[in-house]
Assembly symmetry: C2
Homo-oligomer: 271 residues x 2
């Protein structure tokens, strides 16, 4: 997990989404994308065979908060013109994770050799977009200052299952004072395509959470005495659903190494 | 305090703002206005002499959440054309409270005999408007079902003083589940001219409140174990500021007997 403030120096312009993707495509960069092209949408990627694509599309439609789908490719087409200029999903993500029958197989930096005519790419919004809006509004996200990410928790809340896709809702937690929590709800409500408004606030046990027990130990659980924990749906939910569905093949981005698109974060704001 | 569901039968059309005002002007009605012309804005009224009008205007400007000013009359003019057709503030409010030097003097149903060329009328938005929006969204306001109003509390938070106008912030409390609290924040944020978003949620002691101790014993303090108290700025705040300023004359509406305007609640929504 990475923080723009402590990124090493790079030999390309990290503020330009197209140049970031070029560096990644050429094999010059295979790291975290946090802080790159800060005003542009970064997307979670999930590539599935045709056999599972319709069910996953419907799973996203029925669970829009954890699965905010911003683009689905044409079947077999590695290009994503809806997300930007010359985006080739086979090469433009820094690192990929490959799963077979739900089990992790390998991490690679290019999937051209794995591409098939029946593969379908799903790009989902991520909370980086609304975190930028929170920071721009002056709300404190102390974990960012420490180079950490928001704490991740698995709830006891079922998402709506579709076919073999089923999972408990996974959420991220950000602590705020009451006034800042109200402001954070207002701000994130403007971004339904990147998880939108919180799904819960206050008592964690109401959604089956113990703040000391993070999902895979990811992120910060730190919270000050006067603060309220605020919970947003998390993009790890569809990854969990895919792991449960055990499709013969699934390719995702590696954590924190996302597709940097040309879409502006502000273009996703609903008002 | 009154509930539309338990209002007695009236001999005029209570759904038509103009007819409601006509009945009031003719002395046919002098009761509560809750539930009348439900889609129209009801306004808190404060009439002050010219000597105190500028400071009160600035007090409203500096404290927009408790003092959402929707109209100020011309000096000495009893008509309020910005709020509707043929509104005469001397006769169109069901009951008035008259204060001299900050002390209550009398309740009257017409103030024509008290009108002076130096009087200025202030009309402030009230939470009825956003409560309608909350009910329309299906959020539970159980106190309404009991013919009660939201619990009222004086906080330890200072409003911004102007001249002799100064008061602690007074708030109303409505209890919600976490999910409904998030939705209530979204809905009321659309209505900045009728108190807008909450000012606080969660721990009442952070703003100096003991839920068992209501301001003047007004409203319901009932809250279920799974619920969070959510606090909105209240129109009793400017009344308290006026009481503290002790102007030689002040005329207000009597509690829950408001000016029914022609403005639609929906016209106040900001998006």
């Amino acid at each position: 997990m990475s923080n723009p403030a402590i990124q090493p120096q790079h030999h390309f312009d990290t503020t330009n989404a197209h140049l970031v993707r070029q560096a990644i495509r050429l094999g010059l960069y295979a790291g975290y994308t946090a802080g790159f092209a800060r005003d542009r949408v970064q997307a979670n990627i999930c590539i599935l065979p045709r056999s599972h694509a319709e069910d996953f599309l419907l799973y996203c439609q029925r669970n829009p908060q954890p699965c905010p789908l911003i683009a689905r490719s044409d079947i077999g087409d590695p290009m994503l013109p809806l997300l930007g200029e010359d985006i080739d999903i086979r090469s433009d993500v820094p690192r990929y994770h490959v799963f077979e029958n739900g089990a992790f197989v390998e991490e690679v930096t290019d999937i051209s050799h794995l591409w098939r005519e029946d593969l379908v790419t799903f790009a989902l919004g991520c909370s980086f977009s609304f975190e930028n809006a929170l920071v721009d509004a002056g709300l404190p996200l102390r974990f960012l200052d420490r180079g950490d990410v928001a704490g991740v928790y698995e709830t006891n809340v079922d998402t709506v299952p579709v076919g073999d896709f089923r999972a408990k809702l996974v959420v991220t937690m950000r602590p705020f004072s009451a006034g800042d929590a109200i402001r954070a709800i207002q701000i994130t409500s403007r971004f339904p395509n990147v998880h939108g408004a919180p799904v819960h606030l206050g008592d964690p046990s109401q959604i089956g959470i113990d703040l000391g027990r993070r999902y895979r130990n990811v992120g910060s659980s730190e919270i000050a005495p006067h603060e309220i924990p605020v919970f947003w749906a998390c993009g790890l939910t569809p990854q969990l659903a895919v792991a449960n569905a055990k499709p013969p093949l699934c390719i995702t981005h590696a954590p924190s190494s996302m597709l940097v698109t040309d879409l502006r974060n502000a273009s996703l704001a609903s008002f």
